[in-house]
């Protein structure tokens, strides 16, 4: 790993100032960034750790919205979002293993936008708002493809706001070695529509499965998905599963999610 300067600010304002330096980068829980640095795939001049920024760690719920601080650990979301948004808490509790969940953060996961990560599916299916130190971004405009987001260099995710659905569920088929999602499907039913987001499957990263959304908005029942097939065209093919396999899993997991959301 190349060396870098290390800064540990106490407030968001200090973190924003520290990130003004060229090639400075945010450090969240480090569960993705540290392995990347070890492989010398990144060479920041400075790491600005959010570990000391207490104001970025919270789970609050009010008026049908759950707001989560950008540096909140997965384990905290699993515990504190359980009452206001159980499907989201359940997703957080399935990420990696307990030690990863104690360090990894929601902001880091959404900033990284790994095509197999769990949180992007919850953010997209919930129509969440990603709040940064400078603006608010709708989930529909935020995810721009594998490992790519609308964030600018040095932009910090300070909060993520999830409108709580009437019913929701996340089904994850884990890749047993990495513990990421081979495919994961998040289904969320709101008063006027149903949103379905799929992770792990597509070369373009997380996506909304609009055919399934249309069918489920008509009638929220697993049976309506029997004849709706996910297109295999842009799906990932690797040693863990072919594109056709991932397309098939997408359908199976979506039906299971609808049934479990009950």
């Amino acid at each position: 790993m190349y060396d870098f300067e290390f800064e540990r600010p106490q407030t968001v304002a200090e973190a924003v100032a520290a990130l003004k330096q060229e090639d400075a980068q945010v450090l969240g829980g480090g569960q993705t960034l540290i392995p990347t640095l070890k492989q010398r795939l990144a060479m920041p001049s400075k790491l600005v750790s959010l570990g000391g920024v207490a104001e970025l760690r919270f789970v609050r719920s009010a008026g049908g919205t759950v707001c989560i601080g950008g540096a909140t650990a997965h384990a905290t979301v699993a515990a504190d979002a359980a009452a206001p948004y159980p499907a989201l808490a359940d997703l957080a509790g399935q990420i990696g293993d307990p030690a990863v969940r104690n360090r990894g953060t929601i902001g880091g996961s959404l900033a990284n936008n790994d095509p197999s990560a769990c949180y992007p599916s919850a953010a997209l299916a919930s129509g969440a708002t990603i709040v940064t130190d400078r603006r608010k971004i709708a989930a529909d405009d935020y995810f721009e493809g594998m490992f790519t987001t609308a964030l600018d260099d040095g932009e910090i995710i300070t909060e993520v706001r999830f409108p709580v659905p009437e019913r929701a569920n996340y089904q994850k088929f884990s890749q047993p070695a990495s513990r990421f999602a081979l495919v994961g499907v998040f289904v969320a039913q709101y008063a006027d529509s149903v949103r379905v987001a799929v992770t792990g499957a597509s070369d373009d990263g997380v996506f909304r499965w609009t055919d399934a959304e249309a069918a489920l908005t008509q009638r929220f029942h697993a049976d309506v998905l029997k004849d709706v097939t996910a297109p295999a065209d842009d799906m990932i093919s690797d040693l863990h599963g072919s594109a056709e396999y991932r397309a098939h899993l997408t359908g199976v997991l979506a039906r299971q999610a609808v049934a479990a959301a009950g």
Partner: protein, 161 residues
């Protein structure tokens, strides 16, 4: 170089570290606490698990500077001063929960974190909690039995195969 200060196994410690120095390197190389192992260095195996402010973390995937002013507990903090093993360690010995012992420090630290949150876990809960701790030797069964025993639960005698 940066100055780092923390408490390790109840004792205040300090040192000079580079930004990139990992917590596990600080523990092993600077403090000589070599009980914490590095199995993979890629956050997969859990041999490096320690507790920071009461939570299990992988010390190979944290910088020493992130533990500034924190309370760190390692495997060396488990046995009593006179070397008497704690309940979890003794159960690992009694139930043959280790063979080569490489994974054991991480297994014991993860087990300790589990039992603090969930004093009487089921076998399924133990297996799930240990998802991030790999053992190449034991096949896990005896580790699970040891943790069940350490939590005061009945452990069926091993069947002769």
């Amino acid at each position: 170089m940066n100055k780092v200060e923390m408490t390790v196994n109840g004792k205040p410690v300090s040192g000079e570290v580079e930004g990139r120095q990992l917590l596990v390197e600080f523990l092993r190389e600077d403090l000589g606490l070599t009980g914490t192992h590095v199995g993979c260095d890629t956050s997969q195996c859990g041999a490096c698990v320690v507790h920071m402010d009461g939570k299990a973390v992988k010390s190979c995937t944290m910088f020493a500077l992130e533990a500034m002013n924190a309370d760190v507990i390692t495997i060396e903090g488990q046995a009593a001063e006179d070397g008497t093993l704690n309940t979890i360690q003794q159960a690992f010995q009694d139930h043959h929960g280790l063979q080569c012992g490489y994974c054991t420090p991480g297994m014991v630290m993860s087990a300790a974190a589990l039992l603090r949150d969930n004093p009487k876990p089921s076998e399924a809960e133990i297996r799930q909690y240990l998802e991030g701790n790999l053992c190449r030797c034991t096949g896990y069964h005896n580790i699970i039995r040891a943790i069940l025993a350490a939590s005061g639960q009945e452990v069926a005698p091993m069947e002769v195969e």
